[in-house]
Amino acid sequence: MIKVNIGKCTGCRRCETTCAFFHTGKVNHHLSRIKVLNLYETGIDGPIVCVQCQERYCLRCPVEALSIGAMGQVIASPTVCTFCGYCEESCPIGAIEIFDVIVYVCDLCGGKPKCVEACTEKAIVFDENGERPSLADIREETKKMNPSQKRQFYLNKLGMEVRKQWRKQIA
């Protein structure tokens, strides 16, 4: 899975740009499977990407269009998918989203993620055997939000820890 160290992120969005470009030949954050938010009120920047959560809420897809690949990545079948939006609604952190009849979720680029190569700050790394987190608590809090709001909520939560570190750092 892709692991993110928010404290190192500068908010450049190279991961996001690169993801869209290498999948589609275009630049557009809607076409990216990793999405960066810049939260100016706290100085926190960071990418949100599928964390391969323990619960796999998205797999409860009503038409079973989603499955899990060998590296734990979510695979969306373009022929089975009806774009009902269930996966988008069920992901607690906004890491899967439908845009223009395509499901965007991290596919790990076949094992060599382009976003990791693009990050000069090592804020994102590829960890094949990383521990899968539980998003059960987050899900309770983000149930009624849209994907963008969920990403903001999740990043804010991660950012609080980073901000505590900053205080220690300057003390």
């Binding site: 500068t10 450049c12 557009n28 100016y40 100085g43 963008s148 990403r151 750092q169 300057i170």
Partner: protein
């Protein structure tokens, strides 16, 4: 039909009627100016009633991006805002990086032209399909970060980027700014006041259109080369660590760090206020503009305040230029100015000018409602800045800018205003960087370095200087020879970065962009044949147009000048000791190269 690189559409907004119109970008028209700043100047020239009051509904406010903005190119993150300047009465424009430009690019609009005046405070929500006019009484008096947060919450979308004015813009301070990405500033020439005069609190953008390339793999190849040029650059680490604040010590070392309002070029407490000290004591992380691999911006935290930045101009402006040796205070001011929407250069000039005039007895406290201030008096600096922001008391006069304020005082006091064409000059003493001196004098928006940024004169690359500009002296900062040729070259590269758009620190200061590389980037991105020669020609035309426009605004040859201090008073100490600048001769030479008549 523009399919690649460009968005291909122009958005025209009438605030009075609350109507908008979407037009196709004319391929021939845009090809003649590339995009960005040159596109804005041409639009202003064609559409503005030149004699209009800059703060009336007649003024235009134009936002533009370029064919490479928001692309895979590192730091293709800039947008330019253009209008007739309320501070100077001539061409006004200012660029900023961050994340706004890339989002504007995704709306598919190359240019957003705003006319008229709203009867109530509004913000504009611009998306692919056009504009929503949203009344926002709740945003009155809000600072930049608050405004951004409120708009994003209302839109339920955190990809929305916002370019807003703070209280200073609402109060029509003539040097107020537009700020996006929280702390990214369109600082110069009072674009914030123009926005404020239109009752426009913010321009919010969110787009879903893709940036596409004519030759995708070819473009990628060109971009990879530029990425490597940046990563392998010998200043990479230094710029990564400090950004432009590295200039505090660099300029002090050569004796041109403005100290006590340009009375000195050496600051004996520079170590306390240096970029090095800032980075090691208060920086908590690096920040970056859209898609940049240099990450030269920084985020800092001090006890009760935090912000992105500062850049060199603000750091020097609120330390040595006004005699303050307290770094955290300068950081507090950086946050305050960014959030209130004041230009740091013009703000520190008005403060520094009053300090010097009071020291010399040219302004008495009873001239300023019993206000007096000496070098580095922090509480009073803070008080003044606040009075300017809200136009309270004497702040109301100061908010008109130093040049207008000085009209109420003696000739001796007026001569001490560090300005060209009404725009306060930047932090760099031209007595020791002559190419910069020439740039301040000829810059089409007034006393400013970014029109040419002739960084080359500080590089000591003598052989390269001879090859490029015909004399080794072009790489000697104290020489006047060869500087007109240098400025004529670098003003084109500077304009090119503003048109593509990309970062000037990378394109110009790090010497990474040239006409050949730009030609390949443009050809692969847009599919349009921009040969190096063609680029040079149209950039030359655009510079001629700036000149012509300012002539119509009433500028003359004698306005291309520098304050007398730099010509008559040699610096008394340090490595630039004894130096003055013969600016008239340099301007003459510059005119000659351009073929301009006096």
């Amino acid at each position: 039909m523009l399919k690649y690189g460009y968005g291909g559409r122009i958005l025209k907004i009438d605030l009075a009627e609350r109507k908008f119109k979407i037009e196709k970008t004319d391929p021939q028209w845009i090809k003649s100016v590339i995009g960005g700043r040159a596109a804005n100047t041409k639009r202003l020239f064609e559409k503005l009633k030149l004699d209009c009051d800059p703060l009336s509904h007649k003024n235009l406010l134009i936002f533009a991006v370029g064919p490479l903005t928001g692309s895979l190119l590192p730091a293709s993150a800039y947008y330019t805002v253009t209008a007739k300047s309320p501070l100077t009465g001539i061409l006004g424009d200012s660029a900023a990086g961050g994340q706004f430009a890339a989002e504007m690019k995704q709306t598919g609009f190359d240019q957003i032209i705003i006319t008229g005046k709203s009867d109530r405070l509004i913000y504009l929500m611009v998306t692919d399909s056009g504009v929503e006019f949203i009344e926002c009484p709740e945003l009155a008096g809000k600072n930049i970060v608050q405004t951004t947060q409120i708009i994003r919450n209302q839109q339920k979308n955190y990809s929305v980027q916002v370019a807003a004015i703070g209280p200073a813009g609402e109060n029509l301070v003539l040097f107020s700014t537009i700020v996006s990405s929280g702390n990214r500033v369109n600082g110069r020439t009072g674009m914030g006041a123009v926005m404020g005069s239109k009752n426009l609190k913010a321009l919010a953008v969110h787009g879903s259109k893709s940036v596409e390339f004519a030759d995708t793999l070819g473009f990628l190849e060109e971009v990879k080369k530029i990425e490597q040029d940046i990563l392998n650059h010998n200043e990479y680490r230094k710029r990564y660590n400090m950004g432009t604040t590295m200039l505090m010590k660099d300029l002090n070392r050569i004796g041109i760090l403005p100290t006590n309002h340009f009375q000195k070029g050496v600051c004996d407490y520079v170590d306390e206020v240096s970029g090095q000290n800032l980075a090691s004591t208060y920086k908590v992380k690096n920040k970056a503009c859209f898609n940049c691999n240099l990450h030269c911006s920084r985020y800092y935290v001090v006890d009760n305040f935090e912000a992105e930045g500062p850049e060199f101009e603000t750091l020097c402006g609120f330390t040595s230029r006004i005699g303050n040796r307290d770094l955290p205070f300068a950081l507090e001011m950086n946050e305050y100015l960014n959030q209130m929407g004041l230009d740091s250069i013009s703000t520190c000039e008005v403060i520094g000018w009053i300090m010097e005039c009071q020291e010399r007895g040219l302004i008495h406290s009873n001239d300023l409602d019993d206000f007096s201030i000496a070098w580095g008096e922090k509480d009073k600096i803070k008080e003044l800045v606040k009075m300017i922001t809200f136009r309270q008391g004497i702040g109301n006069k100061l908010a008109e800018g130093t040049t207008k304020l000085s009209q109420n005082f003696s000739e001796e006091a007026r001569k001490l205003v560090m300005q060209v064409k009404g725009l306060d000059i930047i932090c760099g003493d031209p007595r020791g960087i002559k190419g910069y001196g020439l740039t301040y004098a000829i810059a089409s928006r007034g006393g400013d370095h970014l029109r040419a940024e002739p960084f080359f004169e500080l590089t000591n690359r003598k052989q390269e200087a001879k090859k490029r500009f015909g004399t080794e002296k072009a790489a000697d900062r104290l020489a006047e020879e060869g500087k007109a040729a240098l400025v004529c070259y670098s003003e084109k590269i500077a304009l090119l970065t503003d048109c593509l758009t990309m970062c000037k620190n990378i394109g110009l200061c790090m010497d990474i962009l040239n006409f050949e590389k730009a030609s390949k980037l443009l050809k692969t991105a847009t599919g349009i044949d921009y040969s190096p020669e063609y680029l040079q020609n149209i950039l030359g035309d655009a510079i001629d147009l700036d000149f012509k426009l300012n002539r119509r605004f009433g500028m003359r040859r004698e306005d291309d000048a520098l304050p007398g201090r730099f010509q008559n008073e040699p610096l008394k100490e340090g490595p630039t000791k004894g130096s003055t600048i013969d600016i008239q001769r340099m301007v003459d030479e510059y005119y000659e190269i351009h073929g301009w008549k006096r």
